[in-house]
Symmetry: C2
Subunit: 308 residues, 2 copies
């Protein structure tokens, strides 16, 4: 069993390669729920949906999220009703949130709802929310705390962030499946996601970082920072904001207590010696996932390192 | 102030005529909430919405409900997720239910939410739910009770009904505005709606029938039964089911303890003497609302009878 810790778009693209070389039933994905939020009263799980839609082949590839060819008729009406509509929800996409909200209201756990959605989409991977408990990622900017989605989507990452806060992390527990999967894994992959807020919100769930330190499995990270910049999203800004350098070396630094190997982009190969000084093996290769061939090659590198 | 008791499509068409001859701000509509239900966890108020969409000029005129030109993308996805989708909700229509559900969840009363929707639609009538408390219309068929929407929409009124039950009617209270409006009304119109389930669910709210008996205002009914048949919906079946004859005379019988005048269709003019025997004035005219001129003429007849 391969376990992958995943955020949103970067992880989903990596996983598209992984499912070509590892049978879906042998893949367990631990997903980030820190970005979850309520939009018009509907429970939205952006990262879980990005992974699901991408692996189901129905994601809007241009944006990396939402459903391809979706319409926005419901949201257009909601705007007329005076709702803020900065969080884009398409009509087909909305079905997922309506379904999830209804199921949670009836007392189902997020894990169960997520498993149902995965199955309805014809997928066979296991997608596990890191926790079934409330956990929300907030950032603080000049003393004001805002939900990560407000910072990311509404304010387009413009505010200067001083701090990242995982609300609920004192009490959120990992699910039993999450702990079991890391314990039994043959290999663990930290997908190329934001180390601070996406992977960070998974690691903020008490016990998960500890489980990664304890597991016998090899742990391979893929750096989302290439040439000192994030490929997508605010990973670089947030790394700097909380005192890391926004480089592949910085990524190694965030993960240094549990990863064995970090795959970095070939443009960063000069950082390899410094990464190895942290006790982490560095593999430099093309990590840009522009097409399926790139994705498969990257996944193969991670798997071959696990089997090494 | 003119007060109108209203169900769905028939009432909405009548009210389209009424707003042409009475300023909207002088019209208070008491709406039926017995048909309200939860669809995918969303609070749907079919009759309130039919009235609102019709008066706003955005209703699907062919069907009499829903929004003109609406799409069904969200519902198509929900069907794929395994939901029963016999209750049709368009994408734009869904915005209303999302809005209402969210507002109710935040603790707003249905009256307040309805007033907001009316205002967002640019309307100036007052639309008052008969009650803010739970009240649901069920029918019983061969011992099985089913929600009125299941009977009406899913089973297309096929089951033989033995009984109509208003769940919650023991405890549902009319809102203060409903009681005040009937007390202060210059005239009350019972729109051409189903006397048993639509107007019936309004009258089932404790105190409303009493208020109608007490009011000084003239009360004018419009028969929804023409030539022994309902124009739309199952009014005729349900009248027979609970022991009334399905004629304009039967309608007079249902309302006999509070109406002064019943407007019946000219094809039913032979029933006028029997209706007058119940102490109710009968006015026979064309009541078919095929175009705006018909609707206005019908509304004028009701208003002139109030002023008579």
């Amino acid at each position: 069993m391969i376990v992958a810790l995943a955020g949103g778009v970067g992880a989903a693209r990596f996983l598209e390669g992984l499912i070509r070389i590892v049978p879906q039933r042998e893949i367990t994905i631990i997903g980030n729920v820190g970005d979850d939020t309520h939009v018009y009263g509907l429970h939205v799980s952006p990262d879980l949906d990005i992974v699901t839609y991408t692996l189901a082949g129905i994601v809007d590839r241009g944006k990396g999220w939402g459903l391809r060819g979706d319409t926005y008729h419901c949201q257009d009406m909601l705007r007329k009703f005076g709702f803020e509509t900065w969080f884009n929800l398409g009509d087909r996409d909305m079905a997922t949130h309506v379904y999830r909200t209804e199921a949670l209201a009836k007392g189902k756990r997020l894990s169960a709802v997520t498993a149902e959605l995965i199955s309805r989409m014809g997928l066979h991977v296991r997608l596990l929310p890191a926790t079934d408990d409330p956990l929300q990622t907030y950032v603080s900017s000049r003393g004001r705390q805002m939900h990560f989605q407000e910072y990311m989507v509404k304010l387009k990452t413009r505010p200067k962030v001083d701090r990242v806060i995982f609300r609920g992390s004192e009490s959120a527990k990992p699910t039993k499946q999450v702990l079991e999967s890391t314990e039994r894994a043959e290999g663990v992959i930290i997908c190329p996601s934001n180390p601070i807020v996406s992977i960070g919100a998974i690691l903020a769930v008490r016990g998960i970082r500890q489980a990664l330190k304890k597991t016998q499995a090899k742990i391979i990270g893929v750096s989302p920072i290439v040439g000192g910049k994030t490929v997508k999203g605010p990973a670089d800004k947030l790394m700097r904001a909380i005192g890391y350098e926004a480089t592949a070396l910085g990524v190694a630094d965030v993960y240094k207590d549990f990863i064995d190997t970090l795959i970095i982009d070939r443009v960063d190969r000069a950082l390899a010696p410094d990464i190895e000084c942290l006790g982490i093996k560095a593999i430099a290769m093309n990590t840009m996932m522009r097409n399926l061939r790139n994705k498969v090659r990257l996944a193969k590198a991670a798997i071959s390192e696990i089997n090494h």
